[in-house]
């Protein structure tokens, strides 16, 4: 672990254990599924087994007749539409009139137990009329009728066409121009905690009727959930409380409203009892909202000296059946072509297309990852064409901040040059690259990401984060933050910042987070916005409350407020030694200050302390230093409990250009990452082994280095999953691998060493200079591996993941050998055979009954592989 460099801080920059880590390692911490309520019922969802069909009739009478079944909820129980984006309200709690993917939500059984609910699912009779379905985005775009959503002709959710600078002129002056098609297949978050929601109504004392709703849910966005619940249930937001318990990982998969969250609330209303729904792992895969399969046609021009003259990208995303975050995803794909390198001319055409598959949404590195894979691969290829080292071509195209890119992104802090230097040095790039021998190679790639979006998805001028702090007579500091800790450590970040600003120890801070009744609005944990935005709000709240403590302390210390310093539980005059709190307290009290020890009189120490402090204060004249508690108590003399508030809204200068869609991409600050991958490729089997990744990440300032390293390593690791083995395998709209094993989430034996180097560029607007750390490193991992494969065996992988099949096909194609058909004679029309052990809900002997125009009736084209 790298040593913290700065000693100017007492908490910031120090490796600290997450404040909730003991709860996690002892099992005391509660996740949504660990909760229950008296009289709680269990909900189970009936999913569609057809990809696209009209619902003619739902008959639940047989299910309702089963003992233990309380109710069955269907679409018309809550037909209001919602969606995470205001422009994409295309979902309903349960299907109304139509299902749009295998796995769409048709009905929900509420019963006394899970086993009864499951049995009842089999007894619901649904009559469907199949419609033609689309599984390939390029086919879907050509559709003329039977659109997935009537309001989206040709199944195009949204398309954008951006031109910045003069791309034609840029390509004209290039010495080399390359064009290529890259495909990144679909991946998903697969957070270890399956989604879970517990919803319960309480009675209203005034009306005697059903009153407030409390929802406890595995969410990254409790306030959005509150908002959407109010839309679907037709209830004022003030009557809905959303609480986020511990969340077992999100990665974007819980960053919007997942069907079960709404369904549980609707079910609780209808069942008149608390209802809990927990997804099975298979349902998690079908709820999805992951990274879409993306087809990228990329064209880049460079001069002989390596400088990039223009980039043109056409991006098609296979969005699945609902909008989800799609409009934002397709915009990120274009916008973040900028702000990594200096690119003078950019052309971007993006198409978000609807297909009859589970909706894609936001996943770690939202929108940027797949395009980054294409870009960094093509840049590598261009470097080869002009005989330039891959490291040098990247150094050649660096931005010169502070600057504003051609597409309107403001860049202030920019640690990319240092990141490149660090990984080149640590991997011994220059020395080793040529000496690795047959089948082994090094590859380099870079990436970047936003520290939150400068404009929120719901347009408003309100702050993106607000934090309140309360300090009461006990001297305890309670921070009320809406930030959602999903394992990334935001509660700890907030505690660290509050402790640093207030000059007290971490154990004095208690964080109350993500409870819409208690905490002020924070728009959620997504787009890596929390440290930057909630951190800034926390800092401001702490400074607000500190002002009052300092004013009171200044009187006692007989100095100007500017000369009052606070650190490690001591408040002291500038120029005076801040002695260890222990000795000071001993001086003040003449007793041992042990925080927990009860005093002789049996009183809790704090009460005694205040009494004696007040007594002392009267007796003593001016002094040089005092304890945190004394300072706080004197500030409270006239006001009672102290409270402070702070909020953060990104500055207008960070909000980017005025073009259509220009609101996505701009961020107050960008993180940077550079990576080198060391891989071997087995030319006989096509198997790729990653030996090591060196990853350098510019996070502005590492508030908590252990956490930053953990986030960077986790991102790179997740990128490696996408690079080598993770992928959704589809057959006619059926997900063939909805389990952790078949999806191939990497285990410890498949995970290489990842060494993380923290680069601190100290952002001028970040809290203590901090910016993004949890997503930006993901994207570089994929092209770093692709480039290393090229370095190893001379094949350019243009379709991810780089499975043995694809790599071998590419190697054989290069050598002029015939492709080996590994799946020959596998009958794809009999998926129930493949899925038997997984317990697929909709294939228990039902088989696909499809519309005559369904692609499952046609032969499909050969997939693209490497060349």
């Amino acid at each position: 672990m790298s040593e913290p460099k700065k000693s100017e801080f007492s908490v910031i920059g120090k490796p600290v254990a997450l404040v909730d880590s003991a709860g996690k390692s002892t099992g005391q911490g509660k996740y949504a599924d660990d909760l229950s309520a008296p009289g709680m019922l269990i909900g189970k969802i009936l999913h569609s087994h057809l990809p696209h069909a009209l619902i003619k009739k739902i008959d639940a009478s047989r299910a309702l007749a089963l003992e233990g079944v309380v109710t069955v909820v269907i679409g018309k129980d809550a037909p209001n539409t919602y969606g995470i984006l205001p422009v994409g309200h295309d979902e309903t709690a349960l299907a109304v009139g139509k299902v749009r993917y295998v796995g769409d939500n048709v009905a929900c059984v509420v019963a006394e137990s899970e086993s009864i609910a499951e049995a009842a699912l089999e007894l619901i009779d649904v009559e469907y009329e199949p419609l033609p379905a689309w599984f390939d985005p390029e086919d879907s775009m050509k559709s003329q009728s039977n659109f997935i959503h009537e309001q989206r002709p040709n199944n195009i959710e949204k398309d954008y066409h951006h031109v910045f600078g003069d791309p034609d002129a840029g390509f004209a002056v290039a010495d080399v121009v390359l064009e290529g098609r890259y495909i990144a297949n679909e991946v998903t978050h697969a957070a270890m905690e399956p989604h879970c929601t517990l919803a319960a109504f309480e009675f209203d004392s005034q009306t005697g009727r059903e009153g407030r709703l409390t929802v406890q849910s595995s969410t990254q966005v409790p306030y959005y959930l509150q908002h959407k619940l109010s839309i679907v249930l037709d209830m004022p937001m003030s009557q809905i409380r959303v609480i986020k318990p511990l969340v077992g990982g999100g990665f974007g998969g819980k960053s919007e409203i997942i069907p079960l969250e709404i369904i549980a609330a609707v079910a609780a209303r209808k069942a008149k009892a608390p209802v809990k729904i927990t997804y099975t792992r298979e349902e998690v895969f079908l709820a999805h909202r992951g990274r879409p399969r993306t087809i990228i046609d990329l064209k880049t021009g460079v001069k002989k000296d390596g400088s990039i003259t223009a980039v043109a990208a056409k991006v098609i995303q296979d969005g699945g059946a609902y909008c989800s975050y799609g409009v934002v995803t397709i915009l990120y794909s274009g916008a973040l072509l900028g702000a990594l390198y200096d690119i003078p001319n950019i052309k971007y055409d993006g198409f978000r297309v609807l297909t009859n598959k589970p909706a894609c949404g936001a996943m770690r590195g939202h929108g940027t990852v797949n395009v980054r894979f294409a870009f960094e691969s093509q840049l590598d290829e261009l470097a080869g064409k002009i005989n330039m080292d891959p490291v040098s071509i990247r150094r050649k195209n660096l931005l010169k901040p502070p600057c504003i890119t051609v597409n309107g992104l403001r860049v202030q802090s920019y640690g990319l040059p240092e990141c490149i230097d660090v990984v080149a040095r640590e991997s011994k790039w220059a020395e080793r690259r040529t000496k690795l021998g047959k089948g082994r190679g090094l590859g380099m790639a870079c990436s970047h990401y936003v520290s939150g979006a400068a404009s929120s998805i719901i347009r408003s001028d309100m702050p993106h984060s607000t934090v309140n702090i309360k300090i009461d007579r006990d001297g305890g500091v309670i921070v009320y933050t809406g930030a959602s800790d999903i394992g990334q450590g935001s509660d700890t970040m907030v505690a660290q910042i509050a402790a640093e600003v207030l000059g007290c120890k971490m154990n004095r801070i208690k964080v109350v987070a993500a409870d819409t009744d208690l905490t002020p609005v924070d728009i959620g944990s997504y787009s890596s916005r929390v440290t930057f935005m909630n951190g800034n709000a926390t800092m401001r709240a702490a400074e607000d409350i500190k002002k009052r403590i300092v004013a009171a302390a200044a009187k006692k210390l007989a100095c100007a407020p500017e000369d009052v310093l606070m650190r490690d539980n001591i408040v002291y005059k500038r120029g005076v030694e801040p002695v260890e709190s222990k000795s000071i307290l001993q001086k003040v009290l003449g007793t041992s200050p042990s925080d927990k020890a009860p005093t002789v009189s049996g009183h809790v120490e704090g009460q005694i302390l205040r009494g004696s402090v007040q007594q002392k204060r009267k007796d003593e004249g001016p002094k040089e230093r005092m304890s945190f508690e004394e300072a706080v108590t004197s500030a409270m003399d006239n006001t009672g409990a102290l409270s402070g508030t702070g909020s953060y809204a990104p500055p207008v200068e960070a909000k980017g250009g005025k073009h259509k869609g220009g609101g996505v991409g701009p961020s107050p600050a960008y993180s940077y990452s550079a990576q080198v991958a060391d891989v071997s490729v087995d030319e006989e089997t096509g198997e790729v082994t990653v030996h090591k990744i060196w990853a350098a990440h510019d996070c502005g300032r590492a508030l908590n280095p252990v956490s930053v390293e953990g986030q960077v390593i986790g991102s790179v690791w997740m990128g490696l999953g996408q690079a080598l083995q993770e992928e959704f395998v589809w057959k006619d709209g059926l997900l063939m691998n909805p389990t952790m094993l078949e999806y191939k989430s990497p285990s410890s034996t498949e995970s290489p060493e990842i060494e993380c180097f923290i680069v601190e560029s100290i952002d001028p607007e970040g809290p203590f200079g901090a910016k993004e750390a949890s997503e930006g490193s993901l994207a570089a991992a994929i092209p770093a591996v692709a480039n290393a494969i090229y370095d190893a065996v001379g094949v350019r992988m243009r379709e991810s993941p780089f499975t043995p099949e694809r790599v071998l096909a590419a190697i054989r194609a290069k050598n002029g050998q015939k492709k080996i058909e590994m799946t020959n004679r596998v009958d794809p029309t009999a998926p129930h055979k493949l899925r038997e052990h997984g317990g697929s809900l909709w294939f228990k002997g039902r088989g696909p009954q499809r519309h005559a125009d369904d692609p499952s009736r046609k032969t499909t084209a050969e997939p693209v592989a490497g060349d």
């Binding site: 390692s25 599924d33 999903i486 252990v706 953990g710 690791w717 285990s747």
Partner: protein
Amino acid sequence: MKKELIELKVNGRRHEVAIEPSKLLLDTLREDLGLTGSKRGCDDSSCGACTIQVDGTPMLSCTMVAASYQCDNGAHEITTVEGVAEHGALAAIQKAYGDWGGSQCGFCTPGFMMTVRALLQRNPEPSDEDIRHSLSGNLCRCTGYTQMYQAIKAAILAEQKGMARGNERTEEE
């Protein structure tokens, strides 16, 4: 299905529970005993989040029928993550996972606690390869495992130091 009364010994205490004879041990622990530390992360015994120890051996409680593990003359001593903290303080491995970033979201952590605990009971000085292999039945989506290795090594060191201290004390007495 009609319920039956069974007796389980969990974390050193005996519990009588009335459950359906087909009920899984994981569900019994979570729902009937309120021991929600063990997690369910999958449908097909692929994730390890539900790992417990039975007589010291790590096992997946999501695939075990509770009624088959009734306590019986000293056999079937079940330990869950709730039984790991020792003498009113975190066990070395629990503390180290916090200090070294071994858990982020923590959903996989109870399973890892039980797997690592069993490993270290069997082999107090495992090699890097031993550690890597013994963790391969537990999945984590957050950490990439790297910081877990650091945590495990730190825990081993802490244990050794603690043991050394323990020995000193005995010698003094």
